[in-house]
Point group: C2
Chain length 352, copies 2
């Protein structure tokens, strides 16, 4: 095949459906002309949007489907009604078949993960996939996972996540040995839930070549950028992410109000507008849109459901980068090395 | 007795010990001259600090103790070494004895909670205490709990927390029927962990007179101020709080950097300085310092360990307000009403 990156889109996913997905694809295609798109969705809804983007139209194929997963469907419902025939499923299926290298959807997270697991299966050595995302920090960016793929985690799930997150950080940040921290409510070894402490012990003992285990980190360490990779289970991860997003929005509101209260402040705002805009950009959730499903035999990216075309294009870009940098195989290699390390440890213990 | 509010301070608690605690007490005493203080701690460390604050010295009594709980002691260690004789224990004991109306400590949270539970005991009808704090929001402030008193929670623990948090909100915000939300990873009833969904069902059915159950809220609803009271278990609560604090600090850093990059931005900063300061003040963690222990037979406030005198004074103020508004009895009344509601429900079900 050609050197194109072929991308399968669930055109019906998200709060705004094809309007945002197609416009986002057009934007991503402008940035990366070597992309080709499959748009899975209802023709009557997708084609009119596509007509507005002539250049994308030349690089895209619409694949019609009647069925769309709703944002509030339970995963079981979505599977019952949408397996093999919904736009979401077909986008993932295109990855499984090798027709596309990555699937992107702004649809319902639970349904997307359930379908991706069934269709693509988890990688050998991985029990459960996780969702990893980039988080802006004072130092730059970090990978945070899991952002809601599954609730609760055993120690070995957390260890798997450390390995998957490190693989993502190696690729996305171009690091040899990213630092990894386990999110906890105190940095002392005695604190927190048993699974987290156990995972810490395992990571310290394993001393893996691909990651440097840092220890426990607390909620405020995420924004500080204390480590390259922050590992936590999905419930906490989702809430930490949204609490941070909420705080950013809140400060934005405070600033808006404060900067318009007096003429001095208004004048100051005019002068500092560009500077304030750079801050706004750095905290813009659209800039970091895109959760990467880690641990599956195929690349799937989840976009925020309520995002706009700009945000959706960034989610596509994340998928593009992952494909261009071959993350999939590098994670698999990391897991294989980990498995070897575990085996050696077992042998050592048996011999002693 | 007089109409003074008598406050017991663990003078050895926190990262900075007596220097911060005594200076904080002096500040609180200036704001509320009707306060009287017991300072529990090592005389040699406390007296020199007290000499710097003549007015406080007239309103304070130093009670000597050799033992101080360390910030990294495990609760079990702290109890073994500090029960009945540490500054932390003695501050709580003063509340139990009725010598003081509130104890304030910036010491180790786990040890403080363990000692408070043993010394004061939980209120009738409450299994486990929780830590509630005020969180700044776009609308004003909300109560968030639990911020780390205990990890994990059954449905009935979450229901108890809803009641305790609502009692705190009634008093602190002067509301008749505060709205209460359960923190979850999605607002749909189908999502999240079973305990949270079960707690939601119970709260909806109970339809308590003292609180209006709103439903699930997500992490970003905290900063929006969607509800007056946000309920979650302690691990998640602590991490959400610290993630938000980290984000606030991060944006502060971004702003500082951006506002000094060009002469236009610097000039803009000078003009808008007061406006920016009001935003900084609203997000200042010292402004909202102080976690209130809810569900105990006595008032205990936990200050952030790393805070300064200004922050510690605010933690004292929280305790002062609670005492002046008789929160203790109003929580007890709320729980009693809740117990009655449960009984009625059981009777209704038995009759049907």
């Amino acid at each position: 095949m050609s050197n194109h990156v072929r991308i399968a889109l669930d055109a019906m996913g998200g709060d705004h459906g094809p309007a945002v997905v197609v416009a986002g694809a057009a934007l991503a295609h402008e940035r990366h002309p070597d992309t080709r798109f499959f748009l899975f969705g209802h023709e009557d809804a997708v084609r009119p949007e596509l007509q507005r983007h002539a250049r994308l139209a030349d690089a895209a194929r619409v694949v019609h489907t009647d069925v769309a997963v709703r944002m509030d469907d339970k995963p079981s419902q979505a599977l019952r009604q949408g397996r093999r025939k919904s736009s979401m499923w077909m986008a993932i299926e295109a990855v499984r078949q090798g027709e596309a290298s990555v699937a992107v959807s702004a649809g319902n997270t639970g349904a997307l993960m359930a379908m991706a697991k069934i269709c693509l299966k988890t990688m050998e050595g991985i029990d459960r996939p996780a969702i990893g995302a980039l988080w802006p920090t004072i130092r730059g960016e970090s990978v945070v996972l899991d952002l809601g793929a599954s609730i609760g985690a055993e120690a070995h799930h957390l260890v798997d996540m450390a390995i998957m997150g490190a693989a993502m950080a190696r690729v996305v940040f171009d690091l040899d040995r990213p630092t990894v921290g386990l999110l906890n409510i105190g940095v002392e070894e005695v604190k927190g839930v048993e699974e987290v402490r156990e995972a810490g012990r395992i990571l310290r003992e394993l001393d893996l070549p691909d990651l440097e285990y840092f220890g426990f980190v607390e909620g405020d360490d995420i924004g500080k950028g204390t480590v390259d990779v922050v590992v936590t289970e999905g419930f906490t991860g989702n809430i930490a992410l949204k609490a941070a997003e909420g705080t950013a929005r809140q400060i934005g509101e405070y600033l808006r109000a404060a900067m318009s209260r007096t003429w001095r402040a208004r004048l100051g705002y005019l002068l500092a507008r560009n500077a304030l805009q750079t801050v706004r950009d750095r905290m813009d959730t659209r800039e970091h849109n895109g959760g990467l499903f880690l641990g599956l035999n195929g690349v799937v990216v989840k976009s925020h459901g309520g995002t706009d075309a700009y945000g959706f294009a960034n989610a596509i870009d994340l998928g593009y980068d992952v494909v261009r940098h071959d993350l999939q195989h590098r994670i698999a290699a990391g897991i294989a090395r980990h498995a070897a390390g575990l085996e050696q440890r077992v042998q050592r213990e048996a011999a002693s």
